[in-house]
């Protein structure tokens, strides 16, 4: 049986996976900014765009981080329930806008923060609902 208690060690792992998850998307965004390529309008420009992006070290850094997050996440899930892990991991919904403001100089309005809050609450509800007892479908 899995332990349900979130120990300090598990919490640290979760925070690490949060930060790495944010890093993944930051690196992906960086890789698209890295290439000096115009707008993608059709499949031809998309192919040229992707060729340029896949040559960016940021993208491969991002993919490497994806693998790291996957391993960390598997370790976390072997220690605690998914319904406990997901709400804590949803911290990246806050972390991403913060990183976007600081490092990418993106602007975030109050309405968008409200939207982020709704999404975050929704994700937490969905993950908590895995404890719900429901009758099997007919």
């Amino acid at each position: 049986m899995f332990k349900k208690k979130v120990t300090f060690k598990v919490l640290l792992l979760l925070i690490a996976s949060d930060i790495l998850e944010t890093t993944v998307h930051f690196l992906f965004k960086k890789s698209t900014l890295d290439v000096s390529y115009g707008q993608v309008v059709d499949l031809t420009t998309m192919a040229a765009f992707l060729k340029a992006v896949f040559a960016s070290p940021f993208l491969w850094g991002g993919l490497l981080t994806v693998v790291t997050v996957f391993i960390l996440w598997s370790v976390v899930l072997s220690k605690i329930d998914l319904s406990v892990a997901v709400p804590i991991a949803s911290f990246s919904y806050i972390l991403i806008p913060v990183v976007s403001i600081i490092f990418l100089h993106e602007k975030i309005s109050a309405l968008r923060w409200l939207g982020v809050f709704f999404v975050l609450t929704g994700v937490i509800f969905v993950s908590l609902s895995s404890k719900e007892r429901v009758e099997p479908a007919k």
């Binding site: 998307h25 930051f26 992906f28 965004k29 890789s31 698209t32 390529y37 707008q39 993608v40 998309m46 765009f49 992707l50 992006v53 993208l59 072997s78 990246s92 919904y93 991403i96 806008p97 990183v99 976007s100 403001i101 990418l104 993106e106 975030i108 309005s109 309405l111 968008r112 409200l114 939207g115 982020v116 809050f117 709704f118 999404v119 975050l120 609450t121 929704g122 994700v123 937490i124 509800f125 969905v126 993950s127 908590l128 609902s129 719900e132 007892r133 429901v134 009758e135 099997p136 479908a137």
Partner: protein
């Protein structure tokens, strides 16, 4: 980004859809092996090997790759913070697919959570 908003939302929906299809193939491949969770390293290795030779798994991976490519196009067109929040629409696709394709039963709490995500994406898109 007003004019391109619909296109970007469409592309995000496309990556979410590809992700969902990937999850469905993955789930179907895993279910077909009738594996019970264990910490036995040998059994886990055997399970992963059996999984890797399932064509369905690679079909899923193909969709995952398409999803990555479309996602990169999305990121080139819009802010990261918008794309990340809007990408949570995969929760909606997963919920619908679980309910109607896998015939899983969903509780009220889960529908409520999915509804909140829809509302959130709506607000994020408005701004």
């Amino acid at each position: 980004m007003k004019e391109g908003l619909l296109l970007v939302l469409f592309l995000i929906a496309l990556t979410s859809l590809c992700d969902t299809i990937n999850q469905l193939f993955l789930k179907s491949a895993i279910d077909s092996l009738k594996f019970t969770p264990t910490f036995n390293f040998l059994k886990i290795s055997k399970f992963i090997f059996q999984l890797l030779i399932k064509p369905r798994l690679w079909l899923g991976f193909t969709f995952s790759l398409i999803s990555l490519c479309v996602w990169l196009v999305v990121l080139s067109k819009t802010d990261l913070n918008f794309a990340f929040s809007a990408d949570s629409m995969h929760y909606i696709f997963i919920a619908l697919a679980s309910r109607f394709i896998l015939k899983e039963k969903m509780g009220a709490f889960r529908w409520l959570g999915t509804g909140l995500i829809v509302t959130g994406i709506f607000f994020v898109s408005l701004s």
